[in-house]
């Protein structure tokens, strides 16, 4: 039977754990912010390791093109199907091009690409930097008088900052083509009619809004992944945990950031 003292200790224990959890989160956010400041300084000042940036761009960007294309193609197709179904209720099925185009370019292209590519690339960065950290390679780099942020983090960040917007352009294009396939096969529209409607309402600002989001997403993905990798502890187990944390954190951050960026870009 529980006594009053047991209940008191239980409540204290819960509050202590809540305090610990909150404090860990605050420290984590602080760490990411400090890393962000340090990395930004290295992104904008020479020397830049162009060869390593290109190597990372190939590893992260070029090898993600299939993933981004397939996801965007089927998203565009499903979007066209669902939109046609919904618009049919209002007799507005012909406006499918406008809805698919705007939805993809302003929202779905950047967000889905960031989620998928971010998960793939972010987990890769964390695993790579994490295994270097736990095997003392990062400390060895520091002990040899080299800067791990400039050597390891900055090239990956540059590759993401360049690669993700390009992948978003690819995803936007593929998604719109997916919509065209459904519009032609299922709804009997001509490709010319569909594409003219896609372009009818689209403004250059819509395109810039999507690309702008992807740059913010790239920065966030790179920072989270690098921070988790560089703070990994305890061998393979620690690297595995850090990698899982990155996938979860990237997904949440992209969606939360998307809300605020959407508000911001709509207000501009």
């Amino acid at each position: 039977m529980r006594t009053g003292r047991d209940c008191y200790h239980h409540v204290v224990n819960v509050f202590e754990r809540l305090y610990d959890l909150t404090w860990r989160r605050v420290r984590h956010l602080g760490g990411v912010a400090l890393l962000g400041r340090a990395v930004t300084a290295r992104l904008v000042t020479p020397p830049w390791n162009v060869r390593e940036i290109v190597r990372q761009l190939e590893a992260m960007g070029v090898r993600s093109t299939n993933l981004a294309s397939v996801i965007a193609l089927f998203t565009g197709m499903v979007l066209a199907l669902q939109t046609a179904y919904t618009l049919a209720a209002f007799g507005a099925k012909l406006y499918i091009g406008e809805v698919v185009g705007l939805s993809l370019i302003r929202e779905l292209g950047p967000v889905l690409t960031a989620l998928m590519v971010g998960g793939r690339v972010g987990s890769g960065i964390t695993a790579e930097l994490g295994s270097m950290t736990v095997s003392e390679q990062v400390e060895a780099m520091r002990s040899l008088g080299a800067d791990p942020l400039r050597k390891l983090v900055a090239p990956r960040m540059w590759a993401l900052l360049v690669g993700l917007p390009l992948l978003v352009v690819l995803a936007d294009t593929t998604g719109i083509i997916g919509g065209a396939l459904i519009s032609t096969w299922e709804l009997g529209l001509t490709p010319g009619f569909y594409f003219s409607h896609v372009l009818r309402l689209l403004k250059f600002g819509d395109f810039l809004s999507g690309i702008g989001k992807s740059i913010f997403f790239a920065f966030a993905i790179g920072l989270i992944a690098s921070y988790n990798g560089l703070s990994a502890r305890g061998g393979a187990d620690g690297v595995g945990k850090a990698t899982t944390d990155t996938v979860v954190a990237v997904a949440i951050t992209v969606l939360v950031l998307d809300f605020f960026l959407t508000k911001l870009f709509l207000a501009l």
Binding site: E136, Q137, E139, R142, A146, D147
Partner: protein
């Protein structure tokens, strides 16, 4: 060791905790030019933590570390770069960069800190690898090397900039006795030929017997004893027990 030689390393009242766990509790040590000091102690006593303070990989909670006249504990990371060119750190498992070949690992500090032409770098890398008994292994990946070979490559990388101070973290840990002996002999040869000041962290008494001018015994966060191996063997308590357990008797 002659007190007239200049002090290379001064550690004063060094304290370090990780959370609630106090690891170093007022460690002090002085080393003179060309001296070899071996830090002995059991596993988990903080030997590697101590060593990492010497080239600024860790910052103390309190106390002072001065190496080659520069205050390591106060220098910002950017200014430590210059000091680290003169102080090599040989990691326990070698810490070779997985993504680079053996040759690229050894060339790393040369490419990072010198303007030497690639042809000369290749020549110097070849000579360094020859020196540690691994000539012709430039194109191998670190994953293709045994534990002893990794430590040899790490030593070659550490010697590339001709350091004045060399820090060895458990140089024989995880090696069979013969390979351990060969690594110890290599360190002895390097110390003799370079004249570098060496600080070796180990729990291997054979290393201390062969290399040490002095040993410092780390226990409960402090150096409980500093002196020669023979003097350590005569000690009562944990110092004497530790050294005698390693086969050295008074």
């Amino acid at each position: 060791m002659s007190a007239t030689r200049p002090a290379v390393l001064l550690v004063h009242d060094l304290r370090k905790s990780f959370g609630a766990h106090l690891v170093l509790d007022g460690v002090s040590l002085e080393m003179r030019h060309g001296e070899t000091v071996v830090v002995l102690g059991g596993s988990g006593e903080g030997k590697s933590v101590f060593l990492k303070h010497v080239n600024g990989l860790l910052r103390p909670d309190d106390g002072e570390v001065t190496v080659l006249g520069r205050s390591v504990s106060r220098l910002p990371e950017e200014e430590l770069v210059e000091l680290r060119r003169r102080v090599s750190y040989i990691f326990q498992q070698g810490a070779l960069f997985d993504s680079l070949t053996v040759g690229e690992n050894v060339a790393f500090p040369l490419r990072e800190h010198t303007q030497v032409a690639e042809a000369e770098i290749a020549e110097r890398v070849g000579a360094l690898l020859e020196r540690v008994g691994l000539g012709g292994t430039e194109s191998l990946a670190p994953s293709e090397l045994s534990g002893g070979m990794r430590k040899r490559v790490a030593l070659a990388r550490g010697l590339a900039l001709e350091p004045e101070v060399i820090l060895y973290d458990e140089p024989t840990a995880g090696l069979d006795p013969l390979t351990g002996l060969a690594i110890t002999a290599l360190i002895e040869e390097v110390t003799r030929t370079t004249g570098a000041t060496s600080l070796v962290v180990t729990h291997d008494i054979a290393v201390a017997t062969r290399l040490a001018d002095r040993v410092a015994f780390l226990s409960k966060g402090r150096f409980g004893f500093t002196g020669t191996v023979a003097e350590a063997a005569k000690q009562e308590g944990p110092v004497g027990q530790f050294v005698r357990a390693g086969g050295v008797h008074a």
